[in-house]
């Protein structure tokens, strides 16, 4: 618990830039694939040759509308591109085409879970804009290289209301947003490659005060961990200043993750006057009702709806439903397995949250890259349900499946893990154990019922784990009572 909770209230709003998963740039036909050789994906339009003009890529509008519909936002069916004017070498036209007064997506909301219960975060707007290129400061002998491959990549800037009251809350919102954009497949969410970037507006005010304090804008935070740390650092910095009687300067600050500090990039006085005005090269974008309907039809079931359905349809707990709907691939995996296995959904959930996630995490793999596919996973759970495998032997099979040693049944066969469910065979072992452990048998008969566990263990040991433990248990009880 930080000290700011007592006297200071934290106010955070986030601006997220999500790179839209189109094939080509927002105003030109160039590819947006990541990692190409410098300037090989920069056309005449992207490098802003004299006389070239932008042409809107409708796919970017489609993805933006998809987001708007997913958060129940107002869609501005007439929206306008504006020029944001400033000079920088990686900004070829000397202006960025963005949206100012009439963004494509208007006000919407998103619910998040906090330790104090559910909370609604307002999303002020989301607008389309083009990304800038990159300045490369290494390998140019004191000069700067410019790579314009990224210039013109479509971005959706999602601006929240200043509704968050702690860095943890902000991160919860950010994760939810990150999950949503991937869910609806408008952004790959890759933070390392910059496909999902976050700027945070942070201010503090004395508790009870209504007026907002002076804010600073934190830039350059490119992981969930750094977002939280950067905000924590910045809040401490602001509190220190105010408690020493100083005042906060409205400015943009950069977070340095190596030094764990923020430092001033430019103050309000140095702030650009972007001289926004409607771009005369692009007429207002008019979105017909039919376009919206078309996009609506492509919306998948959204996380909240899916979470509720998983609880109702599969009888999952809220926690399990939450975990299994965190991303679409996980939810699809669960649903596919549940529908094809004889095992109960609860067992599916347990095995996914347990063995599967643990192994995926250890190998740093996404569920879509899992070496065990849904059909083998379902079969594994079938073999538990039909008592071929016990929990323990199933784990051995899981490990073998993970290492791609074969399919479920061939692994069971090869490792001789088939559970013994034949009454006669188990009875023989049970009789052996009773004969071999007279001391424990006597203890049981004297009323120490716990010793039954030891005896079952002996049965399992003698059968090399293959005996059905439940049957062994029942048989022991029948013979001893």
């Amino acid at each position: 618990m930080f000290t700011w909770d007592k006297r200071w209230e934290v106010v955070i709003g986030l601006e997220v830039h999500a790179q839209l998963q189109t094939k080509s740039k927002i105003f030109s036909g160039s590819s947006i694939a990541y990692g190409a050789e410098a300037n090989t994906q920069a056309s005449a339009v992207d490098i802003a040759l004299p006389g070239v003009l932008p042409v809107m890529n409708l796919e970017a509008a489609r993805l933006a509308v998809k987001f708007g519909l997913a958060i129940g936002a107002h869609i501005n069916q007439r929206n306008v591109f504006a020029r944001k004017n400033y000079f920088y070498p990686d900004l070829p036209k000397g202006y960025q085409i963005s949206q100012m007064e009439l963004p494509i997506v208007g006000f919407g909301e998103m619910d998040i879970e906090t330790p104090e219960g559910p909370k609604t975060i307002g999303i002020t707007r989301a607008h389309l804009e083009e990304d800038a290129g990159k300045s490369l400061h290494e390998d140019f002998h004191g000069q700067t290289g410019i790579d314009l491959n990224r210039a013109g990549t479509p971005l959706l800037e999602i601006v929240s209301e200043p509704d968050m009251r702690s860095p943890a809350e902000a991160v919860t919102y950010l994760r939810k947003l990150h999950s949503l954009v991937r869910y609806i497949e408008i952004c790959d969410g890759n933070m390392q490659e910059g496909s999902f970037r976050c700027d945070a507006n942070v201010s503090i005010r004395p508790r009870g005060q209504e007026a907002l304090g002076t804010r600073t804008e934190l830039k350059n935070i490119n992981s969930f961990r750094f977002v939280e740390r950067a905000m924590e650092y910045e809040i401490e910095r602001q509190i220190d200043i105010l408690e020493e009687g100083g005042s906060i300067t409205q400015e943009t600050r950069l977070y340095d993750s190596d030094k764990h500090e923020t430092r001033s990039m430019r103050s309000k006085e140095e702030a650009h006057d972007y001289r926004y005005f409607p771009d005369p090269d692009l007429p207002p974008m008019i979105l017909e009702d039919s376009f919206l309907d078309e996009v609506r039809a492509t919306l998948p079931e959204l996380p909240t709806a899916k979470k509720e359905r998983f609880q109702n349809e599969f009888g999952l707990s809220l926690d399990d439903a939450e975990t299994l709907t965190a991303d679409r691939q996980t939810a699809d995996f669960f649903e596919t397995v549940s529908k094809s296995t004889k095992a109960e959904s609860k067992i599916v959930a347990n095995w996914m949250s347990g063995e599967l996630f643990a192994n995926l995490n250890k190998s740093e793999l996404e569920i879509s890259d899992s070496p065990i596919d849904t059909s083998q996973f379902a079969l594994l759970l079938d073999r538990i349900a039909d008592k071929t495998l016990s929990g323990n032997t199933a784990k051995k099979v899981f490990a073998a499946l993970w290492d791609q040693e074969g399919d479920v049944d061939s692994i069971i066969e090869a490792k001789g893990l088939k559970q013994i469910t034949d009454t006669g065979a188990i009875e023989a072992v049970v009789d052996d154990v009773i004969a071999a452990c007279p001391e424990q048998v006597q203890q049981f008969k004297d009323g120490n019922e716990k010793v039954i566990g030891f005896l079952v263990g002996q049965v399992m040991k003698q059968s090399r784990g293959k005996a059905n433990p439940q049957m062994a248990n029942e048989m022991l009880l029948a013979k001893l009572v």
């Binding site: 003009l53 004017n85 001289r275």
Partner: protein, 495 residues
């Protein structure tokens, strides 16, 4: 010496009287003998290659109307592999790696590009004096005592194109018109110049001055030539989002339609203070000529036209200030030789690379868009623009065409107004409203002053009615011969 029209050249080519190579070579020779400074660059080799190819196509049965006809291109159009300067030092050594759609359209119809004509820097000017490549001499001279040897300006910004056609260095040329840059030089040089409806010609590859106003058009001797050339220039272009997707039209089809019953509107605001009285008389006489063709004349009003100039001088510089930001020395074009850091590189590159008029307009535009002034200037100017546009809608309920003078006065002496921007801006007072409203407009030769200087009659028709305007102009030219007069310093050909 007589003018040679595109129609004549096309007929000669068609009949086999002359080849495209012969015609092109003839004009290239004239260009060499001219001292009008009408061209910034001439592409002799490229032109002759295109001419040769046109002759071959004709031999193979291609009968495109202007196949093999050479023209001059304003140096605002990018043409693949050629120097494209826009009249500026900042693009002095820029070689375009692609071709403007308008030029591409013309070339696909077999029209030959001989070279790039001089122009005011980035099309900002009304005298061609802001060109980094020097002023252009108007082929016309005043006959007034003491003026016989004085150079007059050809108008601007398409001054090089106007001078080239007027001096018979090219049978026709392209121009662009943001506030009068085709029509005012056409008037000063005794030509027919047409600014089509906004969106008719693609702006792709045409270096932008003010995107919401810029429009390319033909500059020719006759209305018939303008129709022929315009046919090859227009067309929807997916690369320009402001390009009009309208069915193709043959602008020559209705040239000879009767003008019986045509209603001509004369806005009283275009005949008031500031108009040279001799010119007023010439225009009134020209308009009267239409009565004999069956037209009726009535006074109309464009009550907000006095707001056009102030509105234009906010909107155009605002757009220009942003459009010209790409000329920053980073990727192409001129870069200052010495600089201490990035900001210094920008400052020096743009200070040294742009001329005074361009800098003036960038500063006006940046100011008009800056925070705290936007509402007072840019927003206000856009409102005025709508009022001006509404004026035309009203006026066109009473008339089919609006006529008036193209300019308040005839061509003036070089240097006489270059220190007074406002008097220079007043040149465009009659032409700007059509740009603000996006309407087609043109200037045609209407007669000469007592000092022998050409005067332009200005025509404005409703949206997309270029064909009507060309019909009106053509019928006028059938009954007058002003457009056939040859400028005193024109260069004779070999025909």
């Amino acid at each position: 010496m007589t003018i040679t029209t595109l129609a004549t050249l096309a007929a000669d080519l068609d009949s086999g009287k002359r080849s495209s190579v012969e015609i092109t070579q003839d004009y290239l020779n004239r260009i060499k003998h001219s001292d009008h400074n009408a061209f910034i660059s001439v592409n002799e080799e490229l032109a002759l290659t295109q001419a040769k190819s046109a002759d071959e196509k004709r031999a193979n049965g291609d009968s495109s109307p202007l196949l093999g006809v050479p023209v001059a291109q304003k140096d605002i159009f990018c043409i693949d592999g050629t120097q494209t300067t826009c009249g500026s030092k900042i693009l002095e050594n820029f070689v375009a790696p692609y071709t403007a759609t308008v030029v591409g359209n013309m070339q696909s119809q077999g029209v030959i590009s001989m070279g790039k004509t001089n122009m005011d820097e980035f099309a900002m000017g009304s005298s061609n004096e802001t060109s980094y490549f020097g002023g252009v001499n108007n082929p016309w001279r005043s006959t007034a005592k003491g003026y016989e040897n004085k150079n007059l300006v050809p108008g601007g910004s398409s001054g090089g194109s106007a001078a080239a056609v007027s001096a018979l260095l090219a049978p026709a040329a392209t121009g662009t018109d943001t506030g009068g840059s085709i029509r005012q030089p056409a008037a000063f040089c005794n030509l027919t110049g047409i600014k089509p409806s906004y969106g008719r010609c693609s702006r792709y590859g045409m270096i932008a001055f003010a995107s919401s106003l810029d429009q390319a058009g033909p500059m020719t001797h006759t209305a018939e030539d303008a129709a022929l050339l315009l046919n090859t220039m227009v067309g929807f272009d997916a690369k320009d989002s402001t390009s009009l997707n309208v069915p193709a039209e043959d602008f020559t089809a209705s040239l000879n339609d009767s003008l019986e019953g045509l209603r001509i509107g004369l806005p009283k605001e275009f005949f008031g203070e500031g108009l040279d009285s001799e010119m007023a008389t010439i225009i009134e006489t020209a308009v009267k000529q239409f009565e004999s063709l069956g037209a009726t004349i009535k006074e109309v009003s464009l009550p907000n036209s006095h707001l056009a100039l102030p509105s234009y001088y906010v909107i155009a510089p605002a757009e220009a200030s942003s459009n010209l930001s790409r000329f920053d020395g980073v990727r192409y074009g001129f870069r200052a030789e010495e600089y201490s850091d990035l900001d210094d590189m920008y400052t020096k590159t743009r200070s040294e690379g742009f001329g005074d008029e361009v800098k003036r307009r960038i500063m006006i535009g940046a100011y008009a868009l800056s925070s705290g002034y936007y509402d007072a200037y840019y927003s206000q100017a856009q409102k005025l623009r709508r009022l001006i546009s509404n004026d035309f809608t009203c006026a066109f309920t009473e008339c089919d065409v609006i006529m008036g003078p193209t300019t308040p006065s005839p061509a003036f002496e070089a240097g006489s107004r270059s220190d007074d921007p406002v008097s220079m801006y007043l040149n465009d007072i009659y032409t700007i409203p059509a740009n603000l409203a996006g309407l087609p407009a043109g200037s045609i030769p209407a007669g000469f002053t007592s000092n022998g200087l050409p005067t332009g009659l200005h025509l404005i028709t409703p949206y997309l009615q270029e064909a009507k305007m060309l019909n009106i102009a053509h019928k006028f030219q059938q009954t007058t011969d002003w457009h056939t007069r040859v400028a005193p310093t024109a260069i004779g050909g070999s025909q």
